[in-house]
């Protein structure tokens, strides 16, 4: 067993864990945060993607023990996140989810796309999303939702630049 202390959704957490425990299993089993979903458990599908120190990471192939001292945000912790708040609305408007299994990972990934890109074209958004598999939607709604949030962000930046 090894001792782990980290911050999850703003709360300090301390636990004794088996070193082979993945971050995904730690979140789901130890903390009962079932919003983090598992699809492939080897890094390929993106369902388990969470935000670690402001970067999206695969919780299925990250050992919980390696997360000493980090800040983890799962889908349960996005309530007050300004980007995810806009993404949630855009996902709703653009029908970017059906069963919702991929959605927690999609939101963590989409948030990162919005934050790192100012004017991506559809091709770039699709390339960035290549690591997130959705079996329901066919992706078009997801791509449109992300594009829409980036557009409002660019408009806000342009408006700000215009006033100075």
């Amino acid at each position: 067993m090894t001792t782990l202390s980290l911050t999850v959704n703003g709360e300090p957490v301390r636990a004794e864990i088996d070193p082979r425990l993945s971050l995904a299993d730690f979140l789901r089993e130890n903390l009962a945060l079932k919003g983090t979903h598992l699809g492939c458990e080897h890094g390929a599908c993106g369902a388990c993607t969470v935000v670690v120190d402001d970067m999206p990471m695969r919780s299925c192939i990250t050992l919980a023990a390696s997360c000493e001292g980090v800040r983890v945000t799962t889908v349960e912790g996005f309530d007050d996140d300004p980007v995810v708040t806009r993404l949630r609305q855009a996902f709703r408007d653009e029908h970017a989810l059906q069963c919702g299994y991929c959605t927690p990972g999609m939101l963590a990934t989409a948030r990162d796309i919005v934050l790192r890109h100012d004017r991506p074209d559809t091709e770039q958004i699709r390339a960035e999303l290549a690591g997130c598999i959705c079996r329901c939607t066919g992706y078009r709604g997801i791509v449109r939702a992300i594009a829409r949030v980036i557009e409002t962000k660019s408009q806000a930046t342009a408006a700000k630049a215009g006033t100075t």
Partner: protein
């Protein structure tokens, strides 16, 4: 599937990590980003009695400018190189290669050193590093040693690392501003491993030219010296010459494999010469 139980250590210095490897006597393994090792442990195709997690060793994330070369710490992530956060002395080549490795969530954890040590024959960094003339810096119980990337890369999933050694850094010569490079990869979708890779670097100011191919089909990164003369002289190698160089390295390529490797090489050499 889940990994069988292992012990876990989190050293904060290279010396501690090397000591932990020696103590583990063959049963200890380095854990870097875990982006290859953790899935392999879970699938039970790799085993470890003890994992030595090097994620807390700050020295391994350092990048030092040494004048004509830059020493990149083994723990620098693909994402850091993608963002150019460690400086660009390679005319954008490192960022270009990094951007197309896996997905951002994987690139945020996966490291340059981990990719080289894992030595997946289809991986990107081993090919790119050989094309740039990198040397690797290893640390073991008897001190440090340096190896050219050609000597480090031994075979599929096999490097020159001894059981009690670790990779600490990658020393890369800077490219001259007039240098040209091309990196071509054929793959089924964004983020998937390449089925064929070609990297060409031509730096006439330094008299340096490299042509490297890589993939599972050719058994990992391989320098194709027979093609370097054409690139150095600014001429285009004939298709038959490209195919002969590939066949000499790997006589068993089927027609499809030969086609995609030859096409990547031809395009890369043309891009550098144009």
């Amino acid at each position: 599937m889940k990994a069988p139980a292992f012990a876990y250590l989190r050293p904060v210095s290279i010396a501690e990590a090397v000591a932990a490897l020696a103590e583990g006597a063959g049963g200890a393994r380095i854990l870097a980003g875990g982006q290859s090792l953790v899935p392999m442990l879970n699938l039970r195709v790799a085993f470890a009695e003890t994992l030595v997690d090097i994620g807390a060793i700050a020295d391994l994330r350092a990048v030092s400018d040494e004048g004509e070369t830059v020493l990149i710490g083994a723990g620098v992530t693909h994402a850091t190189l993608e963002d150019g956060a460690s400086g660009d002395h390679w005319c954008g080549m490192l960022a270009f290669v990094a951007r197309d490795i896996a997905y951002r969530a994987v690139r945020n954890r996966g490291t340059l050193g981990g990719s080289l040590c894992h030595a997946d024959p289809a991986a990107d960094w081993p090919v790119a590093m050989m094309a740039l003339g990198a040397t690797v810096q290893l640390a073991g119980p008897d001190g440090e040693r340096a190896l050219a990337s050609e000597d480090f890369s031994v075979d599929v999933f096999t490097t020159a690392l001894e059981e009690d050694e670790m990779l600490t850094g990658i020393r890369l010569p800077k490219l001259s501003p007039s240098a040209r490079w091309s990196y071509r990869k054929m793959r089924k979708k964004a983020g998937a491993f390449g089925e064929a890779i070609a990297a060409v670097v031509h730096d006439p100011a330094r008299g340096f030219t490299r042509v490297v191919a890589g993939s599972s089909a050719v058994g990992g990164p391989c320098r194709l010296e027979a093609l370097e003369g054409a690139v150095a002289s600014g001429s285009l190698a004939a298709e038959a010459t490209i195919r002969a160089a590939l066949a000499e390295r790997e006589p068993d390529l089927d027609r499809y494999e030969m086609q995609i490797h030859a096409t990547c090489l031809r395009r890369a050499m043309k891009e550098v010469s144009s």
